[in-house]
Amino acid sequence: MARALIAMSGGVDSSVAAYLMKEAGFDCAGLTMKLYENEDAGISRAHTCCSLEDVEDARSAAYRLGMKHYVFNFTDDFRRSVMEKFAQCYARGVTPNPCIDCNRYLKFDKLLQRAEVLGYDLLATGHYARIEESGGKYVLKKALDASKDQSYVLYMLTQRQLAHIRFPLGTYLKAQVRWTAVKLDLCNAQKPDSQDICFVPDGDYACAVERISGRIFPPGDFVSADGAVLGRHNGFIRYTIGQRKGLGIASSEPYFVCGIRPADNTVLLGRQNELYRAQADAADFNWISGTVPQSSLRCKVRLRYRQPEQSVTVIPTGEASVHLRFDEPQRAVTPGQAAVLYDGDTVLGGGTII
């Protein structure tokens, strides 16, 4: 019987994923990654040493399903590869997606390696996405439940990884998942879905960046494209491209954040029309098929999570870089976010907007 390790966060999705793997006949064990200390996430230490409740929920679900459960400590790796990188990106004026880094460096790298070392053939997670295989080639597809689809944050998967990964929820609707959890009487059946970034539970990214980096980001000038000073900002890490609210500038026509320039501590403002870009470049690009197309291709792109797909012409410019030419100019193309390419339901690949 093939052995499967299930990454269990303590939430309802990964618990049901564990159940489905067991039902499919795998010899399963549950695993919870300890990623950070409460203090790192700005939660007072209280009396526990980690996000203990989630761990207990995962353990309880695993035991209920008759599986062993382990907790692995990945706090060092998580701090280095996700939290510090998150802070460094903001400090460079770039808006990162730490969930993608966590998938890239932790779940599907360190954890997958660990699973292999411990003799598990497969790693399963509660992600909503599908993996299909034909003729020894793996294809990553959107989830059946479009409202939950997480294929956007999985674009970095390689053929080698896909061969050892299972996403049992890919063909399920969220409602079915909750219903399954209720039927199984799992303690977390009614637990709300996690929102936001796990190590920034209060959603205050700027505060998290300062806590992690130990730096203070001082106020500076809002400037226009022609260099005119329009006002004062409260530290450039507090702004993202396309932002309109909270700028504190009185004007008949609204201003938007069009750029962040750490070099001279300014935030570039402009009018709505200045936010649009007809093209962009992406680096660290991963083609899921493992082969870089020889010529340009037409497909769809998402420039942020849950964005409706846009038509694009993609020109490969290297082993791991592409140039994107949008059919329609795109609003607030944000460096640091992922550009992910789709052909129908299939994820072709993705990279980081530069």
């Binding site: 919870t32 070392v117 411990l118």
Partner: protein, 395 residues
């Protein structure tokens, strides 16, 4: 299965279980009750206290029963702090490798205005009385040093440290949870004012322990609600557990020399067998350590994987520092003796007991060698070390 995690907990002995049973359903009266049936329970309680005191070289009145080692540590520190505060002395000396029951209580005391000096621990895991003497100030109210470390097993020069404290007129507490029942401990001759112990570390039941406090050291009660334990710990006494503890301690102290002799042979064989693993190191002094404690670091090995694969081979072991979640944190003890993070992650604690055999030791050696070799073969870090891309930390 080979159980080699006796520092985590031990099997409750037959003697202890036999001693407990009558107090569940035969002599089940409340020791505080007036009638003769309650009196009978009270007599048993006091008899247990006397027997435990005899094992520790103190007086029965100096024994307070607690729910275990952690409670005893908390109460010892908070009591000594209260005594100090009354005299305007708010400085405490302890060490960086204490149990969290001590470290976390000290952290709490810091928020109450106490100044805490945590002594560095030398690489061999042995504190010197000189370090303690140098750290004591005019406003020091307490020194707390563990008798034997729960991870690396080193046995501290408690008698000498106690003498330093006596001379300077400072209260001395020792967390003796790992020591009592395994090595000779004597309150009087060791110059100890406050001592914590836990029954389940010497084949007694869980959920019961002792805070021994020299006469004249008033304890602060942490739990209010009754006059049990002379007002120092409210709550109906856990008589069955206390009877089990008294029986287990009596047995452990009676067999102490014989067990220690046997264990040292097993321990040293295990140390020898594991020392043969390249790029490994024994943590803690090889001589001045608990008779059953073996603690190693293996470079290029992940502690969590090591423990899981040993479990698959039927060996119950630990890394020494388990967080309540069951995940492994890099041990503060190993960091305290100067092991770098990447080495501290690859640690293994094996704690033997008199029930273990030389065959167990042989099997453990084989299992550890196999698992370490396998994990290294799979490890990218190990590849870098072997190719010279990264430098070995351990020779």
């Amino acid at each position: 299965m080979i159980y080699a995690d006796n520092a985590a907990t031990t099997k409750t002995s037959r003697t202890a279980i036999a001693a407990m049973l009558p107090y569940f359903n035969t002599v089940y009266g409340n020791p505080s009750s007036l009638y003769a049936f309650g009196q009978q329970a009270k007599e048993a309680l006091e008899d247990a206290r006397t027997r435990i005191a005899a094992c520790l070289g103190c007086d029965a009145r100096e024994i307070t029963f607690t729910s275990g080692g952690s409670e005893a540590d908390n109460q010892a520190l908070l009591s000594a702090a209260a005594i100090g505060a009354r005299k305007g002395k708010k400085h405490i000396v302890s060490t960086a490798f204490e149990h969290h029951a001590v470290l976390h209580t000290l952290r709490k005391l810091k928020t109450q205005g106490f100044d805490v000096t945590l002594l560095d621990v030398p690489e061999n895991g042995l504190l010197s009385p000189r370090q303690v003497a140098d750290a004591i100030r005019d406003d020091t109210c307490l020194v707390s040093v563990m008798y034997a470390n729960n991870e690396i097993g080193t046995v501290q020069p408690i008698r000498e440290i106690g003498a330093v404290c006596r001379e300077k007129g400072v209260l001395f507490h020792t967390d003796a949870v790992q020591a009592v029942g395994h090595i000779p401990v004597d309150l009087r001759s060791d110059n100890i004012d406050l001592l914590s112990l836990s029954a389940h570390k010497f084949h007694g039941p869980r959920g019961v322990g002792v805070l021994a406090a020299r006469r004249g050291v008033p304890l602060t009660s942490l739990i209010e609600g009754g006059a049990q334990e002379r007002g120092k710990r409210a709550g109906t006494e856990n008589l069955p557990a206390i009877m089990g503890m008294a029986a287990a301690l009596g047995e452990a102290v009676r067999d102490l020399d014989a067990n220690a002799r046997k264990l040292r042979v097993l321990r040293d064989a295990l140390i020898e067998g594991l020392s043969a693993v390249p790029h490994s190191i024994l943590n803690g002094d090889p001589e001045r350590r608990l008779p059953g404690n073996v603690h190693f670091c293996f470079e290029g090995v992940e502690g969590e994987s090591l423990l899981l694969l040993l479990d698959d081979k039927g060996v119950c072991a630990s890394s020494g520092s388990a967080c309540t979640s069951g995940s492994l944190d890099p041990s503060h003890v190993l960091l305290a003796i100067g092991r770098p993070h990447e080495i501290a992650h690859g640690s293994l604690r094996l704690t033997l007991d008199a029930e273990n055999t030389m065959e167990d030791v042989q099997q453990i050696i084989i299992a550890v060698r196999e698992v370490v070799a396998y994990l290294r073969a799979m490890s990218p870090v190990w590849r870098d070390l072997m190719s010279g891309k990264q430098k070995f930390i351990l020779e």
